[in-house]
């Protein structure tokens, strides 16, 4: 079932939580609402669910206006960040709750309910815990019970509010892969809220980046990363190094640091900020004709296949930079903390004078 949101507006007192939100979610997609806290993503999710009422605008499910339809009749499944399991009921009774609340005429027989609960618990791989109480489960298990409970009534739409927010890193990773997999199995149109970039990129078909009650960009994870629509999106997706300096039409300078580049008229001359992603640079022990960015090697952290280095600018004003090298490149460099090194950006993002994103440039 497709979801369409039209010109949604929501205020809490003087605070504008959502400002003219338009959103289209295709049937069967898994969409991630990504943004920092206070960006309005949870409010939007709750409005789609019907838990909150918008001041203006419409919500449509499959072309049908549900803006004023009661929560109970929207056929949505909802998963809360803090699980919200019924603490006095067993896992099986939690999952059965929705079925038991059905009016007598629609309610399946006891045996049918039991069977459906077993199916769902098998789906979330928790059949062996049917008799446990929520307090006896781990966080990951609780969230899977919450998901089974939300699916019990075969919802048209599944909404998840920071579903992995309360879990630790390792469980989070496992659970989101599992969710992705589950979604492929049952393919119910789903929207989930997250503030974790990695999570949004890994799980979603489409990412909706939100900031201050507005949608900054909606696109596939790849597009959002490679062609960010705004400075905010670029900034928010992963760590960046901001290099502030001055451009004279041929080269960029800050203190004794220098980069030779063409900005294609983005900023003919004057102040110019360059964004550098940590993995889009190399390091060497000598400067080149096009790039002279001297740095002192600080702390390093080795994790998996990449080595993350902290670099302190030498003789030019910049905050501590972060550069990621492959393990091989790091070993080839053969550097010690305290050594002087030179950063060679492969690609940089320009920020134009009016604060928008300019072209991507390469020093040459």
């Amino acid at each position: 079932m497709s979801i369409r949101v039209e010109q949604i507006q929501k205020r809490f007192g003087d605070f504008t939580a959502l400002d003219d939100i338009n959103l289209d979610v295709q049937e069967g997609q898994l969409v991630g609402l990504l943004g920092p806290s206070g960006s309005g993503k949870t409010t939007l999710l709750r409005i789609i669910a019907g838990l909150e009422k918008a001041d203006q605008g419409k919500v449509l499910f499959h072309g049908k206006d549900v803006t004023n339809l009661d929560v109970r009749k929207r056929k949505v499944g909802f998963v809360f960040q803090q699980y919200a399991l019924f603490r006095h009921l067993t896992v099986a009774d939690n999952v059965a709750f929705g079925l038991r609340m059905l009016p007598r005429k629609e309610r399946p027989a006891r045996s049918a309910i039991r069977q459906r609960v077993n199916e769902l618990l098998d789906l979330v791989q928790l059949g062996h815990l049917a008799g446990r109480y929520p307090a006896q489960l781990s966080g990951g298990q609780k969230q899977r019970v919450a998901l089974a409970r939300a699916l019990a009534l075969k919802p048209d739409v599944l909404l998840l509010d920071e579903p992995f927010g309360a879990l630790d890193a390792k469980v989070r990773k496992e659970l989101r892969r599992w969710l992705r997999h589950l979604h492929e199995q049952i393919s119910v149109t789903s929207i989930f809220v997250t503030h974790d970039q990695e999570e949004a990129m890994e799980v979603s078909d489409q990412v909706v980046v939100m900031s201050q009650g507005r949608i900054e960009q909606m696109a596939s994870p790849l597009t959002v990363y490679e062609q960010p629509a705004s400075r905010f999106v670029f900034d928010f997706l992963g760590h960046i190094n901001a290099l502030k300096g001055h451009y004279d039409g041929r080269s960029w300078q800050a203190g004794n640091a220098q980069l030779r580049l063409t900005t294609e008229g983005a900023c003919p001359d004057g102040e110019l900020t360059l964004y550098l992603r940590p993995h889009e640079a190399d390091l060497s022990k000598t400067p080149s004709d096009s790039a002279n960015l001297p740095v002192k090697l600080g702390a390093r952290s080795v994790f998996g296949g990449t080595v993350t280095l902290e670099l302190e600018a030498l003789g030019w004003p910049a905050e501590v930079m972060e550069v990621e090298l492959s393990r091989d490149a790091w070993q080839a460099l053969n550097a010690q903390p305290g050594d002087t090194l030179f950063v060679h950006p492969r690609q940089l993002q320009t920020v134009t004078c009016d604060g928008n994103l300019g072209p991507r440039v390469t020093p040459a």
Binding site: Q82, A84, M101, Y133
Partner: protein, 284 residues
């Protein structure tokens, strides 16, 4: 965490606390029973079967039996409004609940006498209908309800605030009506606290003296509750009788105390589960 006392002056402080409790609380309580039984079991039995005593017991129970359900409903309603809705005057409402705590019961009794007495407009209207409010059971129930109304709400509000309403929202999304959400989700969550509130309300309702004495009119055999009877018999120099009635009240208090301890333990146990749910380590 608590530390074990190590120095003599710390022990001295603890001894002083025990001594104070013994002298101020335990001894008078023990004396009540000693006095009540001072002239033998037969006398106690005679006092217990005295028509005045039986009437007082009955009246006390009737007042409590009406007061407790009324305040149970009232308390849930208030706690629900204050913790579930955001509205203008929410803080004010929450403060007003405490009026009976802050006000002397005698003053409350007097207020009711002025508002609902035979000379007042309201009282007049009721006596026209053939209902006497003051110096009769209705008035006594009214002031007892007034005096005991904060207990249930005060126990529920902090609990319901800390529990939040995600579970209720989950229930609603799963198709539960407002009533079903309350019955199947909210009520089980607050049951121990609710019982605790009931026990406190009941204890206070049974023991209330000040407000009730003002509006009861102290009519022998008609409007005397147990606390009023204690006072009456004491003035009549029926010391043993007074102490027997007092002993009865004290026994009820001890039962209440026991129930309260058990319920506190149960509530504590329940919240422990809830916090465990939040803080425990996450494993897949």
């Amino acid at each position: 965490m608590h530390e074990r006392p190590r120095h003599w002056h710390q022990w001295l402080l603890i001894m002083a606390a025990f001594a104070a409790v013994a002298i101020l609380l335990v001894m008078p309580l023990a004396l009540i029973f000693t006095e009540a039984f001072s002239q033998g079991w037969a006398m106690v039995q005679q006092n217990l079967t005295n028509p005045d005593m039986l009437g007082a017991i009955k009246l006390t129970l009737i007042v409590a039996l009406i007061t407790v359900p009324v305040n149970l409903l009232f308390g849930i309603l208030l706690a629900w409004c204050v913790t579930r809705y955001e509205f203008r005057g929410r803080k004010l409402l929450s403060t007003l609940i405490d009026i009976p705590f802050a006000m002397s019961p005698v003053v409350a009794g007097l207020c009711y006498l002025v508002v609902y007495g035979a000379q007042s407009v309201v009282g007049n209207w009721f006596s026209g209908m053939g209902v006497q409010l003051m110096f009769a059971l209705p008035g006594m129930v009214m002031v007892t309800v007034f005096v005991t109304c904060p207990y249930v709400a005060r126990v529920l509000i902090p609990l319901m605030e800390s529990q939040g309403q995600h579970e209720e929202e989950a229930a609603i999304i799963l198709g539960a009506s407002g009533w079903q959400a309350f019955w199947y989700v909210t009520l089980p969550k607050i049951r121990w606290a609710l019982l605790y509130g009931v026990v406190l309300t009941n204890a206070r309702a049974v023991g209330e003296f000040g407000a009730v004495s003002v509006v009861s009119g102290l009519i022998r055999g008609q409007t005397l509750t147990l606390p009023l009877l204690v006072q009456m018999w004491n003035q009549d120099y029926n010391t043993v009788g007074a102490f027997t009635a007092a002993g009865l009240l004290a026994a009820m208090a001890l039962v209440t105390l026991l129930l309260k301890t058990v319920l506190e333990w149960a509530t504590q146990h329940n919240t422990d589960n809830a916090t465990e749910q939040k803080t425990e380590q996450d494993t897949p």
